[in-house]
Every structure is written in structure tokens, then in C-alpha cells.
Amino acid sequence: MKINYTQLMKAVIPTIRHCEVLGISTVEASAGKLKLAMPWKEDMLGDRDREIIHGGALTTLLDTTCGFASASALDPWGLAPTLDLRIDYMRPAEPRKTVYGFAEVYRKTTNVIFTRGIAFHEGEEDEPIAHCTATFMQLDKTASAGLEDWLRQFEVEEA
């Protein structure tokens, strides 16, 4: 089944309560790749004086980005729980600027999906705020049983 992953992610992200709290939204998605956006908000700061976003908000952005990049690398699409995640903080996010998360799957084995991602400001991909690697567990296919009907709405014609 060929899927419009951007449409699918635009339907999925609003169902995740904590992503709504942080204002996370979908920019674009394809098989094994995902870009999300997170606006600067005063209540997600770690350093109030310098107006710097807390690492925890970036962790949620990157876990979500890497996790759903993994989901879209599976056929059929399906949720993959996080095994582990490591974040290197390269520099503070700038005050009042939207942070983007981008992730890609760089290796998929029978059981495990390896991803890497960055958090960055638009146009500054070469100087990311944070770099992340995360691994996800591939559940057996019965876990995504029942999703077929729901997935069909995002199906597109094979070219």
C-alpha cells in the first residue's frame, strides 16, 4: 500500500495530547523520514532569564520525530516503542524562534530500527541545536492488525 505519510502524520500528531500541549505539528513526511515543528512557548523554558527552551521539550520533539520516522519505515505502518535515545546538545535554542525536528531511519533490521535526528532553526540545519540517535523495537505484525482500514484513507495511487 502506498501511503501519503504527510497526510497520515497530520492526522496522528493531534491525537497525542502532550504534542498538542507543546504545539508540535507536522511539516512533511515520507517513508522513513519526518519533519515536525515546535513553536517557542514561555511555559517550555528551562532558563527563564535567557529565554532558553528546556531540553525536555527538545527530547519530546526528537522522540516523536524519530519514533514516527520509524513507524513510516514499516510496512504496514505501525508504532514502534523507543528502546533508547541519546541527545547531544550543541547550542541553546534561540529565544522566540520555532524549532524544527527532522529524523531519518538509517538502518532497519528484523527487530530494531535505527534512527538519527536533529533539532534546528529553519535555514540553520548545518548548526543544529541538538543531535539525536534513537533505536526502536519493531513489534510483530499482529500489533498493527486492525489498522488496515484506518490506513486506507491515506492510500495514494501507485505511480
Binding site: 528546556h54 525536555g56 521539550a57 519530546t60
Partner: protein, 153 residues
């Protein structure tokens, strides 16, 4: 409204964990609470529908568990090293061991090594029992040497 810095000084002088937590907006957003048991700090993340990441289980968002543990690590560093500037997180690594159910979560951190500029911290989070953690993590923070801080006052 106190700045982060004055809250830090107050918390360290009067031992008030609540004012430390209140100095970090993100900690308040997810609902972190601190408890002091003797000389030890234990932190609680109360059950909160706003922290859900998987609506079907339901389970706490893995990012919230990570964020909670990072908050706990930073507060432990502040409390233990008595530095009066916010430690800067360098890196953070987390292993997810069990799904975080929609219930109260607890965490504690331990400073493994305090160097001149860098502190290594290990953090554990659990729900039903500390013996069955839902996640373990480690982090590095940069701190300003106390001598540099002393010059401030």
C-alpha cells in the same frame, strides 16, 4: 516574580525544593514535585492527562519521561554542588525499560562524579517500585566553578 537566580539562591539557603522547581517553567508545565527525605531528594511526576503520548495504552510520552529525568538531574546537580548558576546540559541518554503507565512516576538522581567543570549524573525513574524502573538515564552537565560564582557577590 523571582528570577531563576534568586530562586536558586533562596532554595539553596532555605532548602526549598518547591522554589527550585518553580524557577523552571518546563518543570511546572509537566508538573514536577520535589520531596526532601533527610539529605535525599525524590521527585514525583503526578499522573497528568497532558503528559500522555500514547492514547491507546494509555502511556506517558517517552519525551516527558526523559524531560522529567533531565529536570531531576539538573536539580540534583544544583542541590549537591551548590553552584548558583543553572548547569548546562551537554548530553542526555535514556534507556526505556517499561512503558510509563498513566499513573504517578518517581525519580531520583545521583551525582556519579563531580569534576571541575563537568558533572556526571545517573537517574532512575519508576512507578510501582523502585526495583522495577521504567527508565534509566545518564547525563553530563557543565557547571561554573564555585570560585567564578563567588566573584558575583
Amino acid at each position: 516574580m523571582g528570577t531563576s537566580l534568586s530562586a536558586l539562591v533562596e532554595a539553596q539557603e532555605y532548602g526549598s525544593i518547591d522554589s527550585l522547581v518553580a524557577a523552571i517553567p518546563y518543570a511546572e508545565l509537566i508538573g514536577v514535585e520535589g520531596m526532601q527525605l533527610g539529605s535525599e531528594l525524590i521527585f514525583k511526576l503526578p499522573k497528568n492527562p497532558d503528559n500522555i503520548g500514547n492514547p491507546s495504552l494509555p502511556a506517558i510520552h517517552g519525551g516527558v519521561i526523559g524531560g522529567f529525568m533531565e529536570v531531576v538531574a539538573m536539580l540534583e546537580v544544583l542541590y549537591e554542588t551548590k553552584v548558583t548558576t543553572l548547569p548546562k546540559v551537554v548530553d542526555f541518554s535514556i534507556d526505556y525499560i517499561r512503558a510509563g503507565r498513566d499513573q504517578d512516576t518517581f525519580a531520583r538522581a545521583e551525582v556519579v562524579r563531580r569534576g571541575r567543570n563537568v558533572v556526571n549524573v545517573s537517574i532512575s525513574a519508576w512507578q510501582t517500585s523502585e526495583d522495577t524502573p521504567i527508565a534509566n538515564a545518564r547525563a553530563h552537565f557543565l557547571i561554573k566553578p564555585v570560585s567564578a560564582v563567588a566573584a558575583r557577590s
